[in-house]
Every structure is written in C-alpha cells, then in structure tokens.
Symmetry: D2
Subunit: 174 residues, 4 copies
C-alpha cells in the first residue's frame, strides 16, 4: 500500500499540466510586490507556511495571515490564497477583503470555477481535491467531517507544496 501511494503521488505530480504563462505571471507578481501575504487553513496553511518560510529565505517581505504579525495589505500587494476546494472559509472572506482593498489575488486551487478562483487575478490550477461538504474549515473539524481517507487525501496539498518549491527554485535562480 505504501508503495502504491508513493507511485500514485509521483504519477500525479508528473502529470501536473503546468501553464508556463501562469507561472511566469506568478513569478512577476512575487518579484514586484513589496509585500506578499499567504492565506490558507488546515493542511493548506501548513503548505502556505512552508512557502512563506522559503520566500523569506530569498529575501521577500512575506506574511502568513494566521500568524501574530500581519501588517495591513496595500493596493498592489499580492495575496496568495491556497484552497483545494476554492471555497474554504475563512480563506474566501479574507481574499474578498484583500481584493476590495486593491490587492492582487493569486489563488491555488483544484477548481477554476470556484468562488475563490472567480475573484482571482491569477489562478494556479493544481488538481487533487474533491469537493468538501462543509465550506468552513474549522467548522468541518469541530464536526468531525473529514475528507475521504483515500491515498489521495492530501494530494492537492502535497502537489502544491512541490509546485511551490519549484517556484522558489526559479526565483532563486533569477
């Protein structure tokens, strides 16, 4: 079973259909924004923190929205919202607020027609997530409504983590 999971995950990553244009746009946003904000809940938050930690190492001014220190977001700043379903709360509410202030929104999601994707300036599509019944992340946990426990349970998060490591390597090279 362990070997099957490893095989499935690597196949999934290899099959990622990377949109070179979107990647280039994402990198431009990350290079040019004076402040970068990262938003996600649950496993998406952990992926976001890893990415934030790496961005910080290459000297970008980055903040994780759920941590203690969060300056206000300014017009033209970039918010990266990570949500497999594209409808996780409170990610969606925060993204809407940031957009209303004039921030540029990059969403990383499995669903390009989700509410999150629809308000984004740039969508990075990472397949792997199926739709959850309950939209609010913490609500879901409190009620014990977990994602299906397939080997693919966290495929979206693992793929996103690896994709973002690739982005870091590209930025570090520049």
């Amino acid at each position: 079973m362990l070997r099957i999971v490893l095989e499935e995950i690597t196949s999934h990553i290899k099959s990622l259909d990377i949109d070179d244009e979107a990647v280039k746009l994402m990198e431009n946003y990350l290079i040019n924004s004076s402040k970068i904000f990262i938003c996600g809940y649950g496993e998406s938050e952990l992926v976001g923190k890893s990415f934030a930690s790496r961005l910080s190492e290459i000297r970008r001014d980055v903040y994780v929205v759920s941590e203690t220190i969060v300056p206000e977001i300014d017009e033209g700043n970039v918010l990266i919202a990570i949500s497999g379903s594209g409808e996780t709360e409170p990610t969606l509410t925060i993204t809407k607020k940031a957009k209303s202030i004039g921030a540029k929104i990059i969403s990383i999601t499995s669903f390009t027609d989700s509410p999150l994707a629809q308000i984004s300036d740039l969508i990075i599509e990472i397949p792997g997530r199926i739709k959850a019944k309950t939209k609010n992340y913490i609500e879901r946990r409190v009620s014990g409504e977990y994602e299906p426990l397939t080997p693919f349970g966290t495929l979206f998060e693992i793929s996103t983590r690896i994709f973002l490591e690739g982005i870091i390597a590209e930025l570090a090279e520049k």
Copy 2:
C-alpha cells in the same frame, strides 16, 4: 503614563462584578465535560491558549480549536468562546456549529446582547471591549482596522486572563 495604565487596569479588575452563580455553573461545566474546547481569535486566542494550558495542567481534556489536533465535539461537551465584541468571526460560526451538535456553550464577552451571548448556555460578562467596526477578526487585521489605542485597548483580554486564572485556582482547590 505607565503608572496610569497599571492603575486603570487594576481598578478595572477590582470593579469586576462577579456573578457567583455563573462562576459556579462554569466550574460545574468544566468539571463534568469529558472534553473542553476553547475558541477565540487574535488576543482572545492567546488568552484562550493560556487557559487551555492551565486546564491541561489540572488534567482536564482540553483542545484549542485553532491548533492542529482537534477531535470532533460531542453532545454535552463544553465550548468556551472568547470574544470581547461577541460577534467576532470565525468564532461565531464555529460556536453555532458546536451548538447545533449539542455542545454546551460558555461565552466570555463584554456584550450580553451580542449574537455570541444569545446562543450561549452560560454568559460570563467581562467588560472592557467597545464595538469593532468589522466583525471578522483576520479581515480586520488585513485591512489595518485596529482597535482604538487607548490604555484600555486590551482591557477585556487582560481581565479575562485574570478571571480565568481565578477559575483555575478554584478548580485546583477542588
């Protein structure tokens, strides 16, 4: 100025009008619930974590909703929701969900007529907070809408912290 703040805070704490009946009820809930959940955002989350840490020391089975490990809440379990305004999101949404499952809700708030208080089984009133313009905590931070910076800025949280320390002392004695 420092001395004035210390004086104001101690006066505020001394003037807390403690409802002995409510305290007794709260202690009964904390003693009898097989699992205790703590929920709060921003400074209220920090106060909640302190209280959770202390409850854990006196061997209560306690969970902070925003941390990694959160079992599902069962009927009859206790959720303590801390929110000065009584309308902070996502605290309110989580509390509603917990109530719908049959959890007992203890709210700690400055406003006994707030949405949070209205769905609570027990209200602990701790004055100190004035109404915020924006209900969503993280949204508020992202938009830079901070609380007024008076010496009373975090009076609710400090008073709640001390009140809860008193609760721990009572429980430890029993």
Copy 3:
C-alpha cells in the same frame, strides 16, 4: 477563592517597583531599533505575542522568533527575551546567539542574577516567578513537571502582560 486571586493579582501589580530609568531606556530601544525580535516559551510566548501584536499596531517592525517568518537579526537590533526564571531553554540559547551577533538584549525576568539577565543590556525585573527544577521549557512539559499550582502560578506572565500594555500606551502617546 476567585476573589482572593483577583485581589492578590491586583495587589501584586500595584506593588510593582517600576524603575523609571529602565522604562525610559526600554522605550528608546523600541523606538530606535529598525527591527524588534520577541522571544519566549510557554506562557511567556503568549505574552510576547500579545506585545508583538500591539507593537505591530503602532507600526514597529517586529517578529516573534517562534513563528514562521523571522529575518536574521542585525547588529543593533533589539531582542526582548521573556523568561520568569531567566534560564528557560531555548530562550537562553537564542539570546546568546543574538548577543554574539551584536543585538541589544532586553530581558524581562523575575531574577536579576539569572543567566539571561547577566547577558542583557537592560533588565526589566518583574517579580512573580519562583525557580523551576527543569530549565528546558518543552522538556518540562513532556515530563509533566508543572509549576506549582498556586494562585500565583502565572503571576509573572500576567504582570509582564500588563506592564507591556503600559509600555505600548507610552509609545502610542509619543
């Protein structure tokens, strides 16, 4: 018992012997440092996060060492180390490292003769803590070696929290 605890805590806060010269020095450090770092573990970490959150609101560039985003500390930057015993690990190790880089150290502790105080540029003495048997904070938790559960259990942390709120009020006024 609850009323006794409230009474004891307020008495303790009122009896804080504030060194005006030290407070003035601390404020100068906080105003002039281009980056401020906060370090503490356990309840001291929660107090540190509250202070960091408030410093951030008055537009200081502040970082909590235990969070995801921590730039490197530069010569002349300020590190605030909070430890009741003045010998908590990993606080002490981090403070030594910061000092070796040339950072200015402000320690907040109950013990002016502790290892932490001895390497500090400025000591803020807040009484309330008695000596712990085990120095390493997390080690202490894993082994279940808690602080004595007196009403004074977290007197140091509560007093520090209120003292730091006073500092914020002074800085906000300036």
Copy 4:
C-alpha cells in the same frame, strides 16, 4: 527550472529505499501506543503537524510537542522525532528526555549515525538533507544561516511528508 525540480523530486521519491521491516515496526508502534507525540522544528514541524492531523483523523491520540496542549509522556508512549540532520535542537534534547522516561523513539532522519538516530528504537531513513553548520534550529534562523537554496532544499521534508501519507493509507486500511 520548475519542470526540473518536479522531475528531481519525483525521481527522489521513487528512489526511496523503503525498509519493509521498519515500516511494519513503525505501524505497530503507532497502532499500539496509547499516546503518540510528534516533535520537529522549522519545516520538519510543519511536516509533523500534517502527519499529526492525519493520525488524528484516523482516531489516534496524538500531540504536537510545540503546541499548547501536551500531556506528559508515559513509559511505552511513542515519540516521533523528525530531523533531517538528526541533530536539530531542541528536538534532540526533547527526545533524550522522552527516552529517559521510557518512551519509544522513532526518528525520521537522513543520517542513521546522527545523535538522534543513535538514541532511537527505530530509525526511518529518508535521504535528502545535507549537514547544517549550526545545530540549533531557531539559532540558525536568527543568524540568517539558511540551508543551501538548491532545488533539493527541502527534499527531506517533502519526501518525509509523502512517506508519512503512505503510512496513513496503510493504517487507514487496517
């Protein structure tokens, strides 16, 4: 560059030399321990939290050592220590303490001859990490001593994350 990174990471995962005996032992420990503790710092902490979150979903009683609620570890409990270098502080100190209490230690590391591996009851070897100059994780961050920024920068953490997802799938099946 992005495609090279994805290719390198998948190759690395495919080349993982899984010791079936070790995996079986690890699963037995995870099934039989009444409490499971997870310890790691930096990116290893994020990987540990993901694993803890997944273990919790399959109803294991699990705790992340760096979070607020940590009961004491008892004889026979399992501690999983994640450290690429196998000498990260404070992971090593905590692991030693847990071992002295009689806990069973599972280490996940790139170095089977590291101090962490040497005190472990079971070593899971995940290659990918090169030796860091400074052992203390937070000290390393404060001093700006980051890992080399190759595409392999976080290869250990990503591989560990995927390996642990495989363990969850195996446990979920049982």
